[in-house]
Symmetry: C2
Subunit: 225 residues, 2 copies
C-alpha cells in the first residue's frame, strides 16, 4: 500500500529537493491545486470525508503525505474547496442556461423552463466530473459553521432561480404543491438520483428528465376552449 506499483517511488528518483524553480517543462502551481481538489472530490465521494486520509489524496496526485498542506491549510479547507468549486460550476452552467431560455425568443411556457433546469441539474449531478455536488450534499457535517454558511449561500442562490418558475406553475394549476415545499421535495427527488443512477444501464438523462417532469407537472391535455 505504501508504494503502489503504478507510481514511481519518489525516494528512488533522486530529483532535486526543495522548492522547484519554475523551469519551462515544470507544471505550474494552479494546476496542482486543482488536481488536488479533483482527486479529493473523487475520494470524498467514494469513501466519505472521514474515511479519506490526506495521504490518500496526496498519493492520488503523486505527492508525499505532507504536501497537500502546502496548498491547503487543513483537510477541511480542501473539503470546502471541493464544495465551492462544485457549486460555482453548477451555478455557472445554470446561469448560462437561463440566459438562453430567457433570451429574445424566450418560451412563455414555464414548464419548458423547468424542464431545461431539471435537465441541466441532472447534467451537473450525473454527468462527467460529477463528484462535487454529491460531496456537497452529503458532507455538510464535516465543515465548520462558517464554511457551511458560505456553501449554503451558494446553494440557496442556485435553488432560488427555480422558485419563480415553480410559483408560476403552481399559479397555473399544473404544480400541485406550494412552491416552497415543492422546491425541497423536487430537489430531494432529483439529488437522490446520485445514489442510484447508473449511466451504463437504464435510462438516459433525457428519459430521466421526461419522467421527472411527468411526475411533478400535471399535464393539461385539454386544448383551449
Amino acid at each position: 500500500m505504501a508504494a503502489p506499483a503504478n507510481r514511481p517511488d519518489p525516494a528512488a528518483v533522486a530529483r532535486p529537493r526543495g522548492r522547484p524553480r519554475k523551469t519551462a517543462s515544470q507544471r505550474d502551481d494552479g494546476n496542482r491545486r486543482l488536481e488536488l481538489v479533483r482527486a479529493a472530490a473523487r475520494l470524498f465521494r467514494r469513501k466519505g470525508f472521514d474515511a479519506t486520509s490526506t495521504r490518500d489524496i496526496a498519493a492520488a496526485v503523486g505527492m508525499r503525505s505532507g504536501s497537500p498542506f502546502y496548498h491547503f491549510k487543513s483537510k477541511g479547507a480542501l473539503l470546502a474547496a471541493v464544495m465551492e468549486e462544485g457549486m460555482r460550476t453548477a451555478m455557472a452552467s445554470q446561469t448560462r442556461l437561463l440566459e438562453q431560455v430567457g433570451g429574445p425568443h424566450a418560451p412563455t411556457d414555464q414548464a419548458l423552463i423547468l424542464r431545461a433546469l431539471i435537465r441541466n441539474h441532472f447534467d451537473v449531478l450525473l454527468g462527467p466530473d460529477s463528484d462535487f455536488i454529491p460531496v456537497m450534499l452529503y458532507e455538510w457535517r464535516s465543515i465548520t459553521p462558517r464554511q457551511r454558511t458560505a456553501v449554503r449561500r451558494l446553494k440557496d442562490s442556485y435553488e432560488a432561480l427555480w422558485v419563480p418558475v415553480l410559483t408560476a406553475l403552481h399559479r397555473d394549476g399544473v404544480l400541485g404543491c406550494e412552491p416552497k415545499l415543492a422546491r425541497l421535495l423536487i430537489f430531494g427527488a432529483l439529488n437522490w438520483s446520485a445514489q442510484w443512477f447508473d449511466p451504463k444501464q437504464g435510462a438516459s438523462l433525457d428519459q430521466l428528465t421526461d419522467n421527472a417532469m411527468g411526475l411533478f407537472i400535471h399535464q393539461n391535455i385539454d386544448q383551449g376552449p
Copy 2:
C-alpha cells in the same frame, strides 16, 4: 472531555469488579444491548459513523471504553444493528398499516392507500426515535458488502409494497411517471425531508403529506361522464 460532569466517575465509586451477578435490582442484559443501539443511532446520525468513536457510544450509556465490545464484536456490527433495527420497525409499522387499509372495508381508491403509506413513512422518518432510517440511508459505505445485502433486502421489501399502488395509479393516469422510476424519485423526495424538516416550525406531518400527494398525484377534478 474525559470525565463529563453529569456522569459519576466510575473509578471513584469502588463498585464490585468482574462480571456482575444478576441480583434483583440489576438491569438485565437485553436492555443494555438495546440502549447501545439507540445511543449509537443518535450519535451516528448527528456526527456520522466515522466521526463517532466507540468511546462516545460507551459514554452515552455510562459504560467504559471497552465494554461495547462485550455486546458487539465490532463497531461495524453496531452500525448494522442500527440499520436492521430501523428497517424492522419501519417494516412492522407499514405492514400493520396495510393490514388496516387492506381489511374488509378496504378503500378502492389507490390514492388513499398511497396517502397512508406516505404519512406512515413520514412518521417513521421524522417522528420520535427517528434516527435509525437516516443512518441507514446515509451510512451505506461503512458496512460490509455482506451486511449491505442484508439491509438492502429489508429496504427492498419495504419499498416493494409501494409498487402495486404506484402501478395502479400510473394505469389510472394520475401518476405521470413509470412506477419503477416513480418509486426512486418519490423516495428521494420523501427521504430528503430528514435533512430539512424541523418539527418545531413549519408544516405538520399531515400538511407535508398533503403537499407530497399534491406534487405526485395528478388530481382528477372531473367527475364522471
